[in-house]
Amino acid sequence: MTGALTSFLEASVRTATPLALAALGELLVERAGVINIGLEGIVLGGAFGALLGAGSNSLTIGFIVGCTAGVAVAALFALFAVTMRADQIITGTAVNLLVLGLTGALYRGLYGATGAALTIPTTGSVAVPLLARIPVLGSALFEQPPPTYLVYLTVPVLWWWLYRTHSGLAVRAIGERPESVRVAGVDTHRWRWVTLLVAGGLGGVAGATLVLSQSGTFAEGMSAGRGFIAIAIVVLGRWRPMGVLIASLLFGAASALQYLFQAMGWRVPYQLFLALPYVLTLLALAGFAGRKIEAPASLGHAA
């Protein structure tokens, strides 16, 4: 029983890690008033970049290339949605299709039409001394691959940036009233670019995590909606770093339920578990009815 619970918690945190990374980036972007549907493409681009980079047999280079690929996709989005002031949802949709097509074509071009099963070595778990030995929770939270620790690091840093620095205040103000901020002499486009590039990096690492810390291989369209879920997580987490972390863990837990059910020997169609996170999101979002939702006021508008 304890064994099942421990592996359930471990799987929850493992599944939550890429979601949290992508969602924390999206949180930053949305606080600056941009909704980036292209996050799905960023995660997929990051995964493909990780595959290319890991070809050098170095996991570090894999993460770096994955991160860079995410930044590149985000830059394309920013060029259209910020600089050219094109519609954010349309740009995001186009970016997703573009990355899906490009990675699919390149993958088949480089690795053969059948996509012969590639195996890439994965990062092992790294145990944090002492903390990992806390009963039940210890190994789930503190014996994970390195990207999980990046999440733990990003949450407080992001919080500090947004709420305790001058530029963080500027970013939040852009998300509320870009016209006023511009009058005050802040370059709104520049800060939207900055937040998008940071989010691109985080989303790229999220994609790299899928390849280098979890599956050890690449598949076409392997982001499988995680970017979209991350966008929903930002809403669930009420546009706050801590809230986003908790919402990601909830999602991870919902996805990890299938392992628990398997371990307990309960037979339920597995599609139910696949659908569960999406259904849960819808229910949770509906549960906000009547409550004040603190979405940034300029979300979705050009600045």
């Binding site: 259209f80 899906l100 699919g104 809403v235 659908a275 979002l285 939702i293 050009a302």
Partner: protein, 375 residues
């Protein structure tokens, strides 16, 4: 809650009247197409493929000969036109229905279920019933998003995307559970009875009457959007929901719901037609992302129903040609997805330069506000 949906106020209703196909629009569309083909040619060269052979195969497999045109391009265009119309009507109302793919899947599943349950019925009963059931199924699926939007304030951008994945899992469950063929060897349903097959439109080809349904739907929507009170309400809430409510006394929630129901029904019909005209059974991967391509189809058409017919056929040709490109020149067919995306991006870029008189002036529902606040 504050409404994070962008651009309602930006949309100019008046734009609709100016939006008739003109020489300039045709020229702009041609420029976009030529630029995209040039980019594709260059990309193929850089990737080391025989670009001339590949593009030749693309042409032969799409518009280059009669059989490919009828049996591949127009067959493939049918679901793209129907889902493209679904997206166009929703976006025109400022309703971001990204869920055409899920609605198509549910429509296909419901039509299959009806077809299998009433397999003994004669064609004149079964066919309309199954197609109607598919449309109702797709409409209901979109109705969930409408309910979430109007009752609970959940943005349809997010809910429709989530519902796409739920629909995919639902079909995955159906073809491995209740609807699986009796031997339980394959994740697919039994074939539907011949009575539910759509008749062939042109003898000797695979083109079925579903294409006629798509053309009729395009014409009907074009007329309805332009000349009926309901069409006006759709355009009005897309242009400026607040003004529509205050000055026009339009029930925005109700119009939003109706638009989503119609949009879902069109997508559901696309799914039902795909089952009864092409696949004759339910498969998990019955849609290669029609509902997502549909967004590009609708945008490239400037959200104009008649133009959707044209862009739907263009994209149908691209995708049909991509398959022959893969066969003859070993170029991965997914590359056309990137080409389609590039088309939309080129269009977005042109729209910033060309001003609202170009093809993109039609982007009404889709433009950021704020000429006035341009920095």
């Amino acid at each position: 809650m504050s409404d994070p949906i962008p651009d309602r106020e930006a949309v100019r209703t008046g734009g609709w009247r100016q939006r008739r196909p003109s020489l300039a629009t045709g020229a702009a569309a041609a420029v976009v197409a030529v630029v995209s083909l040039a980019v594709l040619w260059l990309a193929l060269r850089l990737a080391g493929f025989d670009a001339s052979l590949a593009l030749g195969a693309l042409w032969r497999g799409s518009f280059g000969n009669w059989y490919a045109l009828t049996s591949s391009t127009l067959v493939r265009a049918t679901p793209l036109v129907l889902t493209g119309l679904a997206v166009a009507v929703a976006f025109r109302a400022g309703v971001w229905n990204i869920g055409a793919d899920g609605q198509l899947l549910v429509g296909a599943a419901v039509a299959t279920a009806v077809g299998l349950a009433l397999g003994a019925a004669p064609a004149w009963v079964l066919l309309p019933l199954a197609l109607g059931a598919g449309a109702v199924g797709g409409g209901c699926w979109a109705g969930i998003a409408a309910l979430l939007r109007t009752r609970f304030g959940v943005l349809e951008v997010i809910s429709t995307i989530m519902l796409n994945f739920v629909a995919l899992d639902l079909v995955g469950y159906l073809v491995r559970g209740p609807l699986q063929e009796p031997s339980h060897a394959y994740p697919q349903s039994n074939p539907i009875s011949a009575a539910m097959h759509l008749p062939i439109l042109i003898a000797g080809t695979r083109l079925h009457w579903g294409f006629v349904a798509a053309v009729a739907a395009a014409a009907l929507l074009w007329w309805g959007m332009r000349s009926t009170a309901a069409g006006f309400r759709v355009r009005a809430i897309g242009a400026n929901a607040d003004a529509a409510r205050v000055a026009g006394r339009i029930d925005v929630a109700r119009t939003t719901t109706n638009v989503l129901l119609l949009s879902g029904a069109l997508s559901g019909l696309a799914g039902a037609i795909e089952v009864s005209g092409v696949t004759f059974a339910l498969y998990e991967n019955i849609s290669p992302g029609y509902g997502y391509t549909a967004i590009a189809v609708a945008l490239l058409a400037g959200l104009d129903p008649l133009a959707v017919l044209g862009t739907g056929i263009l994209f149908g040709g691209l995708e049909a040609g991509a398959l022959s490109m893969q066969r003859e020149a070993s170029v991965p067919s997914v590359v056309v997805t990137a080409v389609e995306a590039a088309l939309v991006l080129v269009l977005l870029a042109l729209s910033r330069r060309g001003g609202s008189t170009s093809i993109i002036g039609r982007f009404a529902g889709a433009r950021p506000s704020s000429e006035e606040e341009a920095s």
